[in-house]
C-alpha cells in the first residue's frame, strides 16, 4: 500500500475519504494519513517537543479517526479542522496527563519556533489575505501580553490558570488578553 493508494483516492475529497473509512476501508485511512500525517505529526511535535511522544499522539489521532469516522459530520466542520482540533486536544491532554512542564521553555522561544512554512498544507486564507507569510507575523503584530497569552495557551498547552500564575496576572485579565488578541488577528482581515 503506497503510491497506488494515493493515486486511487486522489480525486476524492477528505469528506468522501472519511465516509469510506466509516465503511471500514483502511486504504482510505491510509490516504488521509498521506495527506495529513505530516502536519499532524508536526503539530504534536511542536507541543510535545519529543518525537516519540509526537509519534504516539499521531497514532492515537488516526486511530480516533478510524473509530469515529461514522460520527463525523462534514456540515459541522471541514475535515482538516476536525482532525487538527483532535490533534491539538490530544497533544494538550498528553502534556497535562504526564504533568509535563514543557512550558518551562520561555514563551518567546516557543513563538520563535512558530514559523510559517511555504509548503504548509491547507489554504491558509487568513494569512494569504493579510499578505502575511506566517502565523508568526500575525502574532508579532499583537501587543506583548496578548501574544504571550495566546502562545502559552495554544503552542505550549497551558491552562488559563497556569498562564495567569506564570504571568502574575489575574485570571480575568488573561481571558481578556486572549479574547482581544484573537479579535485583533481577525480585524487584520478587514
Amino acid at each position: 500500500m503506497g503510491t497506488e493508494v494515493t493515486e486511487k483516492y486522489a480525486g476524492l475529497s477528505d469528506e468522501q475519504l472519511v465516509a469510506l473509512v466509516a465503511q471500514g476501508e483502511k486504504e482510505a485511512l491510509a490516504a488521509l494519513y498521506d495527506r495529513y500525517g505530516r502536519i499532524v505529526f508536526s503539530v504534536a511535535l511542536r507541543l510535545l517537543r519529543d518525537p516519540s511522544e509526537a509519534e504516539d499522539v499521531t497514532q492515537e489521532v488516526f486511530l480516533k479517526v478510524w473509530a469515529r469516522a461514522s460520527g463525523y459530520q462534514a456540515e459541522r466542520a471541514p475535515f482538516a479542522r476536525w482532525l487538527l482540533s483532535i490533534t491539538h486536544h490530544h497533544a494538550v491532554d498528553e502534556i497535562r496527563r504526564r504533568h509535563r512542564r514543557v512550558h518551562t521553555q520561555p514563551w518567546e522561544e516557543a513563538l520563535n519556533q512558530t514559523v510559517g512554512s511555504p509548503d504548509s498544507l491547507g489554504d491558509g486564507q487568513i494569512w494569504a489575505n493579510l499578505g502575511l507569510r506566517s502565523v508568526r507575523e500575525g502574532l508579532e503584530q499583537l501587543p506583548g501580553p496578548q501574544k504571550q497569552a495566546i502562545v502559552m495557551a495554544y503552542f505550549q498547552g497551558m491552562t488559563q490558570v497556569e498562564i495567569a500564575q506564570r504571568c502574575g496576572a489575574p485570571l480575568g485579565t488573561v481571558k481578556t488578553r486572549m479574547r482581544l488578541g484573537l479579535q485583533k488577528l481577525r480585524k487584520l482581515l478587514k
Binding site: 483502511k26 509519534e55 497514532q59 506566517s134 502565523v135 479574547r179
Partner: protein
C-alpha cells in the same frame, strides 16, 4: 452558565486552555445557545490557522504502516466468537451517538437525587438477600453511594453519559471519572432487574482490547451502582460497555451489550 460567562471563556476554549470540566460546561451552553456559537466561530476561524504556523517535520519512517497494523491487530483481537458480542470497528459505531456529553442533564439531576436519598444501596443489597444482619456491608454500600454523590457534584469529575442499546432502549448510565484516577463510579438506570444466576458486567476497551471492569447487580427499580478499578486511569479508555453474564462473570463478553458509550 449564562452567555456573558460563556463568552468570557470562548477565547481560552478555542485555544485549548480550559480543563475538561470547564470545556464540558461551555459545550453544554453552546448546544442550546444561538448567540455564543457565532462568537466562537470568529475565534475558531483564527485559531484554525495556527496548525499551519508550525514547521513541518516528516513523521518517522514506518509510522503509516504501524497505524494500519494496529487497526488490523485490534480487529483480530476482538473477533467475535460463537454467540459472542461483536466488538469490532462497525459494532461500536452504535455507541458513537453516546459520545461524552456535558452535564447536567435532567436525567443526571435525577441521578443526584437518587444518590442523595441514601436508600438506593440499602434497597439494592437487601433485595439481593446478601446483607440481612450484616451492618459492615450495609455501611460499605452506603459509603459507596455517598462517595459517588460527592464525585457527581465535584467540578473536577469527568462525566461520561452512556446510552442503552436496542436490547435495553430505556437504559441510561453515567461513568463518573477523574483525570489520572484508575477508580470510577458507574451508575445505571433503567436496566432490567438482575435475575438469579445472572449478573451485569462492565467492560473497558482501549485500542480494541477489552478488559473486565467487574460485576454488579441491578435492583427492582432498574438501578445499579458499581465502583470500577482499572489498571490505568479510566479516562484513557475509549469504550465502556455493560453486558449481562452468567453469575460470577465471564472472561470475555458473551452477549450483546445493553448499555455503553465511546469517546
Amino acid at each position: 452558565m449564562n452567555c456573558p460567562e460563556v463568552q468570557e471563556l470562548l477565547a481560552p476554549y478555542t485555544l485549548g486552555a480550559l480543563l475538561d470540566a470547564e470545556r464540558a460546561e461551555v459545550e453544554s451552553h453552546l448546544a442550546g445557545c444561538s448567540v455564543c456559537p457565532k462568537v466562537l466561530q470568529e475565534h475558531q476561524q483564527v485559531v484554525d490557522q495556527f496548525p499551519y504556523g508550525v514547521s513541518l517535520v516528516d513523521p518517522p519512517v514506518g509510522l503509516r504502516e504501524r497505524i494500519l497494523d494496529r487497526i488490523t491487530e485490534s480487529e483480530q483481537a476482538v473477533a467475535p466468537g460463537k454467540g459472542g458480542a461483536r466488538w469490532g470497528h462497525g459494532w461500536w459505531s452504535a455507541f458513537l451517538r453516546a459520545a461524552r456529553r456535558p452535564r447536567p442533564s435532567v436525567a443526571f439531576l435525577a441521578l443526584l437525587v437518587a444518590l442523595a436519598t441514601g436508600g438506593w444501596a440499602i434497597s439494592l443489597q437487601l433485595e439481593m438477600n446478601r446483607m440481612e444482619g450484616d451492618n459492615d456491608q450495609l455501611q460499605e454500600a452506603v459509603q459507596e453511594q455517598r462517595t459517588a454523590l460527592y464525585w457527581a457534584v465535584s467540578p473536577s469529575t469527568i462525566v461520561w453519559e452512556l446510552e442503552g442499546t436496542e436490547a435495553a432502549p430505556d437504559a441510561w448510565g453515567t461513568l463518573l471519572m477523574k483525570t489520572d484516577r484508575d477508580e470510577a463510579f458507574l451508575v445505571v438506570l433503567g436496566l432490567d432487574p438482575s435475575t438469579p444466576g445472572w449478573v451485569y458486567q462492565a467492560w473497558l476497551t482501549q485500542d480494541g482490547q477489552s478488559i473486565s471492569a467487574g460485576t454488579f447487580f441491578v435492583n427492582s427499580r432498574g438501578q445499579g451502582i458499581h465502583t470500577i478499578h482499572a489498571p490505568q486511569p479510566v479516562p484513557s479508555y475509549q469504550v465502556v460497555g455493560i453486558t449481562n453474564e452468567p453469575a460470577g462473570g465471564s472472561s470475555a463478553p458473551s452477549s450483546t451489550p445493553v448499555l455503553g458509550g465511546s469517546q
